[in-house]
């Protein structure tokens, strides 16, 4: 079988790995190709801070809560493994802050040591009267993606540096299954009114004395609109921008100022932090993740597409659960082809 994965962010690469892992013995030959015009370190997954934390509430999308948890559990198994640093995985604890009492999040039992903040802890954050403390995982795209690519190369997966202009292009060339992990640009291959950019802008600063993530929330203005500070292995990411519908990938000075000032207010010692980098990226926002099959027919040529895009600002957080589900869907395709082959005999 020939499988073409479009997109080489965390979703594309992990989907490829999961499918290969599960079906390399039962499907022979299994040829997996990855097509992308952006590879690490230029993908959205690379720019993200890399903190495992879903949105606060799943609003009934219980599947997503399950996939998030599966990803956390999976990454946790690597925490003491020799490859952990190469993968960009490590633990980090920190604070989620609110201006009033807030129901516990959907992920409270997925993380480690979840608890509410004590009055003494809240004293550190004037303006916030309620909050949580927990230990979560960091998964840094700049390390994780190269690690995924190494694993894929070891398995003979071929990478093509090129933009796919249409599904048809691949179908015509004889691809059996397409795995569509095109993130924010999925609309270019198939229009999707539900998919919109959630523009973010961040600063990377040198502040190695900071050892906790600090995420503030304003339930009225929404996720990522208020300051957040996330230390990484190399620098600290600070942000707090979410602009729905803004397609600009350029940094602008107004957002830079907003982030800098609001984060300084939260943590005064940032005043002495040297700014190392600015970056803007488009979160692929959707009302829910599109993870489903579709059959494409162009005349006589037919292909199965597994869509796996629309992960908003939680791609790294949810990737493994989604990759497993994509592999499940792939398994169904394989099964159907077998049944069809049998029924022809």
């Amino acid at each position: 079988m020939r499988v073409a994965v479009i997109g080489a962010g965390v979703i594309g690469l992990s989907s490829a790995l999961c499918i290969h892992d599960r079906y390399r013995s039962s499907v022979t030959p299994l040829i997996i190709e990855v097509y992308a015009d952006q590879y690490t370190p230029l993908t959205i997954s690379d720019g993200a801070a890399g903190l495992w934390q879903p949105y606060l509430y799943d609003k009934g999308n219980v599947q997503e809560t399950k996939w998030n948890k599966e990803t956390f559990d999976y990454l946790l198994t690597y925490i003491n493994a020799p490859d952990s640093i190469k993968m960009g995985i490590f633990t980090q604890s920190g604070y989620n802050l609110f201006t009033g009492p807030t129901p516990d999040p959907s992920w409270r039992d997925s993380v480690l040591g979840f608890r509410h903040l004590t009055p003494q802890e809240l004293d550190m954050f004037p303006g916030y009267s309620y909050g949580w403390f927990n230990t979560a995982l960091m998964i840094e795209g700049k390390s994780y993606l190269p690690w995924l690519m190494d694993r894929l190369r070891e398995r003979g997966v071929i990478f093509y540096h090129r933009k796919i202009e249409s599904f048809r292009e691949l179908v015509d060339s004889g691809v059996d299954v397409i795995v569509n992990c095109t993130g924010i640009r999925a609309g270019e291959l198939q229009p999707d009114q539900d998919l919109k950019p959630g523009r973010g802008q961040i600063l990377k600063v040198a502040a190695p004395w900071l050892k906790h993530f600090i995420i503030t929330h304003d339930l009225k203005t929404g996720v990522y609109t208020t300051p957040y500070i996330i230390p990484g292995s190399n620098s600290v990411t600070i942000g707090g921008i979410f602009q729905l519908g803004n397609w600009s990938q350029e940094c602008n000075s107004q957002d830079h100022q907003k982030v800098w000032e609001s984060c300084n207010k939260l943590i005064p010692s940032l005043k002495h932090a040297r700014i190392v980098d600015d970056w803007a990226g488009l979160r692929p926002v959707r009302s829910k993740v599109r993870l489903e099959r579709e059959t494409l027919e162009y005349g006589a040529a037919k292909s199965e597409v597994i869509h796996n895009y629309g992960h908003g600002g939680f791609g790294l957080t949810i990737h493994w659960g989604c990759a497993q589900e994509a592999a499940n869907l792939f398994g169904k395709v394989v099964e159907e082809k077998r049944q069809k082959a049998k029924s022809r005999l």
């Binding site: 020799p82 604890s93 903040l117 230990t135 004395w209 005064p268 010692s269 932090a273």
Partner: protein, 338 residues
């Protein structure tokens, strides 16, 4: 009455903080610090600076707790200010793990640190050799940054610094009204204190910037303390061991023990190693004494014997020493008015 001339002996974390406290709290004092060693060469400089303390067997627990709380509160307010990185003070969270549950599961300092609780089973899975653990958030105070910051504040309060070794309190009696002795292990000869002895500690500093949590084994021998520019791994507790050079066997042993707690350390790059002698005593000596010099009697406030708890108790003992200095001044007024 005129100015009260105070000589502080020692420029480690105890000496500098005590000198600063006196200079800032007692306006009529002129304070001079005497020391043969300054940052970055003091014992305080090599210590990880992790605010956590073992009990002094001969000091009442509530007195220790007060010193710890005063220090914690002082450092806590610095860590929340814009000066945190200038002072080298910041918050850190992590775990203290025990192979067997300790007799005292909830120590006396549990309500001084932040968010103290017992670790969950899920959290303990990361430490397969350990059956019980405590999770909390405390402070770190890095002396190579903190001591120069203290010294700057001290000089802004008109404090003077005089490099040079003090071999006898008598040297200071002519020109100073009150002596404050923060000489750590130096008090062995300076104060003739036979109770004082070194407890040797060897540490390693490695490059592992992905580590954000402290991990301490409840036995006090193995610990991992992430810092601003390196991670401190330790350690040893060798009583009466005066060796100041690093021992390769100690080094490899502690590295192995730390890697067992945190396997990712195997990928870390070793930067330096260091040895310090903890100035240890059964109880911390914080009290007044009258020193006879010829016909004069000069009060000495002793503030030494902090063992491995210098950084975590420094501000509390500085405050108490300052109080004792005030009492000395009060007595002086009384004496001169008789």
């Amino acid at each position: 009455m005129g100015r009260v001339r105070v000589a502080v002996v020692g420029a480690g974390v105890v000496g500098l903080s005590t000198a600063l406290c006196i200079a800032e709290c007692i306006p009529e004092c002129s304070v001079t610090v005497f020391a043969d060693t300054f940052s970055p060469d003091t014992v305080s400089d090599g210590a990880a600076g992790f605010v956590y303390v073992n009990k002094f067997p001969d000091t009442p627990v509530d007195r220790q707790r007060r010193w710890l709380k005063d220090t914690f509160d002082h450092l806590f307010s610095i860590s929340n200010s814009s000066e945190a990185s200038d002072a080298g003070v910041y918050l850190i969270s992590g775990w203290q793990v025990f192979r067997e549950p300790p007799s005292e599961k909830r120590p006396y300092w549990a309500d001084v640190v932040l968010g103290f609780r017992f670790m969950s089973d899920a959290e303990l899975e990361k430490f397969p050799q350990h059956k019980f653990g405590q999770a909390f958030t405390t402070l770190k105070c890095e002396c190579p940054i903190y001591l120069p910051w203290l010294e700057k504040r001290f000089k802004n309060a008109d404090g003077q610094v005089q490099p040079g070794r003090v071999t006898d309190f008598g040297q200071l009696c002519v020109n100073y009204d009150i002596i404050v002795n923060c000489s750590g292990l130096g008090s062995l000869s300076l104060a003739g204190d036979m109770d004082l002895h070194p407890v040797r500690g060897q540490i390693l500093k490695v490059q592992a910037p992905w580590l954000k949590h402290f991990i301490r084994d409840g036995d006090g021998l193995t610990y991992i303390f992430p810092g601003i520019s390196s991670v401190t791994l330790g350690g040893t507790r060798q009583k009466d061991d005066w060796r100041l050079t690093a021992d390769p066997k100690d080094r490899s042993d502690m590295f192995e023990r730390c890697c067992a707690l945190e396997p990712s350390l195997k990928k870390s790059q070793v930067l330096t190693e260091w040895v310090g002698l903890r100035p240890t005593r059964g109880g911390l000596r914080l009290e007044k004494e009258m020193f006879q010099h010829g016909s004069r009697q000069v009060p000495i406030v002793h503030n030494y014997g902090h063992g491995g708890g210098g950084i975590c108790l420094h501000w509390g003992t500085a405050l108490e020493a300052t109080q004792l200095v005030k009492e000395c001044i009060g007595n002086r007024y009384l004496a001169s008015n008789l």
